[in-house]
């Protein structure tokens, strides 16, 4: 590899190779969850994470780069079971950005922070020459605290766990893509960007026995499940029919040749829980407006290790692998 390609940022296998080969070993990072859990910081357990947002276009149906930057970092903290508290914001602005657009983004960040019950406590602003960035890039870092007894990690899924998916897949990726390319889908598709902390709080107040949890963003549901199967050394089987997909997303994927399992999300989660509490937890989750369509989509099996199997709608079976390169449309 001589140069970094766009595929290295896709969330799929190339990015995993980049992180595994160059980043994680260089900084001695051992667990690759959505946030780091730091024990014994002044007698507390703290979750800490960071994420950068470079979405194009910066405004899209259902959200914008501002709300995305808050919700994304809030959700990363939630996925290790933390209660998000504080966020910092770094802005990299391209010379020439209209002030009105900046105002819109900042106002959206303010609303998103309010909605997610987090405070933006520090920030930084840089401006670069025209052409050296694309309108605006945002980095957010976040801190949250963890209650005792919570131990959630992508490496803790165990055989028998049921897998709960909180809502329909593919909305964010298709919404951004439709705005970028000027496609109109029927019915229209909106990004699902939203904070999941209230949902997670309700889940954790019901049970602390959640083994693994992730929000399937870049790389989609398929890549997230494959990551957990690898990290936990287990197999996973899911049922295609049980995975909710909105009609607009389904139509868009049919036309463009996308597999919705690989399309990005920004407001759903998968949780791995013991079979005896799965149904009750599911009932509890469905009371939250962000998880009305929550479903049990599959379970953890012993073998084959590190493999995700899909029971297809017509009763066949196939393997689900990690996203490879970027998902591209068909050309014939």
């Amino acid at each position: 590899m001589d140069r970094i390609l766009l595929g290295h940022g896709s969330g799929g296998r190339l990015m995993h190779q980049l992180i595994g080969d160059y980043l994680a070993p260089g900084f001695d990072i051992k667990t690759l969850d959505d946030a780091a859990v730091l024990d014994n910081i002044n007698h507390n357990r703290i979750a800490f994470t960071t994420d950068s947002y470079v979405v194009d276009p910066i405004f899209f149906p259902g959200g914008d780069i501002g709300s995305l930057a808050i919700n994304g970092t809030v959700n990363d903290l939630c996925m290790v079971g933390a209660r998000p508290l504080f966020i910092t914001v770094g802005l990299i602005i391209e010379e020439g950005l209209e002030v009105n657009d900046l105002k819109r983004v900042l106002s959206s960040m303010r609303n998103a922070a309010k909605n997610a019950d987090v405070r933006v406590v520090a920030g930084d602003t840089k401006v670069v020459n025209k052409g050296k960035a694309d309108r605006i890039f945002i980095n957010t870092s976040g801190i949250g605290i963890l209650e005792d007894g919570i131990d959630i990690s992508g490496s803790r899924a165990v055989v028998g766990d049921r897998i709960i998916l909180s809502g329909p897949i593919g909305n964010h990726g298709i919404a951004v893509m439709s705005e970028r390319e000027g496609f109109v889908f029927e019915p229209p598709v909106y990004s699902d960007t939203r904070p999941l902390n209230r949902l997670c709080l309700e889940m954790l107040s019901f049970t602390k026995e959640i083994h693994a949890m992730r929000d399937p963003t870049r790389g989609g549901l398929a890549t997230t499940l494959k990551e957990i199967a690898n990290a936990s050394g287990v197999g996973i089987t899911i049922d295609e029919e049980s995975i909710p997909i909105d009609p607009g997303v389904k139509g868009a994927c049919d036309i463009l040749g996308f597999d919705p399992l690989y399309v990005a999300n920004e407001g759903i989660l998968v949780a791995f829980v013991r079979p005896d509490i799965a149904e009750a937890l599911l009932d509890k989750m469905r009371n939250n407006p962000y998880a009305k369509e929550a479903r049990i989509i599959g379970e953890v099996i012993e073998k084959p290790e590190g493999t995700v199997l899909l029971q297809t709608a017509i009763g066949g079976r196939r393997i689900v692998d990690m996203l490879s390169g970027e998902q591209l449309p068909r050309i014939c």
Partner: protein, 362 residues
């Protein structure tokens, strides 16, 4: 309006699967010519519903896979001109040429863009009048009518060109069926291409080569039904070309689209990656359109192109080998670092085998 859910119905799929098992009389090698079929077959898990006797082989119907190395090299050469914006379909970006790919050239700073429709290029050309915009046009009869329409639409633009490496499906089937090492008992023909061509250009398959063939749709039930129809044809020993995808494919195809192709393009002998030159199997511009023809307007002399060593794409595209027979498969050649084009395209058979592990999980 057709209820497409019926074509994903597990009860109907199961019934067809049982019928196929009931009627099959011995081992059969069936080739799905089109890459879209290959992906649909893997994605819906059809292999796990078929009896052991049936071997499905992928054919040459993946336009990315069959684009010759020298054509990739030429596109890279065109993109190297400082005042050029090269536009192409997304799948072409990662196809390795002799030494580089369009993706790598883009990372080096060349202006190379992905478009979803050839018409998108006209907008790019109008917005960049100080640049020359070149569309690298690949694809079969499904794509060439829209490129022909774009050509006509673009007349009057002074900065727009097309590099056409379009290919034709029927001549490739002729080459396939006349090769002595290709062993196939029936063909699943591409539904999309047939919406343009209709049934007539395929009739030689049965009349000249006595090969059963069914034009199939892309939903799981479509494909299972096409396989069932092939099994019955093979049992009756009366080969013909049938249409399973009758809700979309008409016997005469789309005469308007065919006229558009004929107006703009002429058939020429063309090199197919890994397969070789097939007579009258490509489409180049007629002389009256030479002002738009990138090959007539750019200096694209390139050094002799090299096929990658050890790559079995050619045999895979002809159904002589399956991807796992290739010594490079999943070792030196992976979707992240593809050596052959069949590993690049989302519709390439090697990529499909890799992604879905090529195993029949029963």
């Amino acid at each position: 309006m057709v209820n497409t859910e019926l074509f994903k119905d597990p009860a109907i799929a199961n019934k067809l699967s049982r019928q196929i098992r009931h009627y099959i009389r011995g081992p059969l090698r069936l080739m799905e010519v089109c890459g879209t079929h290959t992906v649909a077959i893997f994605r819906s898990g059809i292999r796990s519903l078929l009896p052991e006797e049936i071997t499905l082989l992928s054919g040459p119907g993946c336009p990315v896979c069959v684009t010759a190395v020298e054509d990739i090299d030429r596109a890279i050469a065109i993109a190297g001109h400082p005042d050029v914006i090269l536009a192409t379909f997304g799948d072409m970006m990662r196809v390795p040429g002799s030494t580089s790919s369009l993706n790598e050239e883009k990372a080096k700073g060349r202006d190379i863009r992905v478009v979803y429709s050839p018409m998108d290029c006209l907008k790019i050309a109008r917005e960049n009048t100080d640049k020359k915009v070149v569309f690298f046009a690949t694809g079969f009869e499904t794509t060439s009518p829209s490129v022909a329409a774009t050509t006509i639409e673009s007349l009057g633009l002074k900065n727009f060109y097309i590099f056409s490496v379009h290919k034709l499906v029927p001549p490739a089937l002729t080459a396939l069926l006349s090769a002595s090492d290709v062993r196939v008992d029936g063909l699943i023909l591409p539904g999309h291409v047939s919406t343009i061509l209709g049934i007539r250009p395929y009739e030689f398959i049965a009349s000249r080569y006595q090969m059963p063939a069914v034009i199939s749709g892309f939903e799981p039930v479509d494909i299972l039904q096409a396989i069932y129809m092939l099994v019955l044809q093979i049992n009756r020993k009366r080969p013909k070309v049938e249409i399973q995808y009758s809700r979309v494919v008409y016997p005469d195809g789309n005469p308007k689209a065919i006229r558009l192709i004929d107006m703009v393009f002429k058939p020429v002998d063309t090199n197919w990656r890994g397969i070789g030159v097939i007579p009258e199997s490509g489409l180049k511009f007629k002389d009256e359109f030479s002002s738009i023809d990138a090959e007539k307007n750019f200096d694209i002399d390139i050094p002799l192109s090299k096929e990658p060593k050890g790559c079995s794409c050619g045999d895979v595209l002809r159904g002589v080998k399956i991807p796992t027979d290739c010594p490079l498969f999943a070792k030196a050649c992976t979707p992240e670092h593809p050596i052959g084009a069949c590993m690049v395209s989302t519709e390439g058979s090697c990529a499909a085998y890799y992604k879905y592990s090529g195993t029949d999980i029963g």
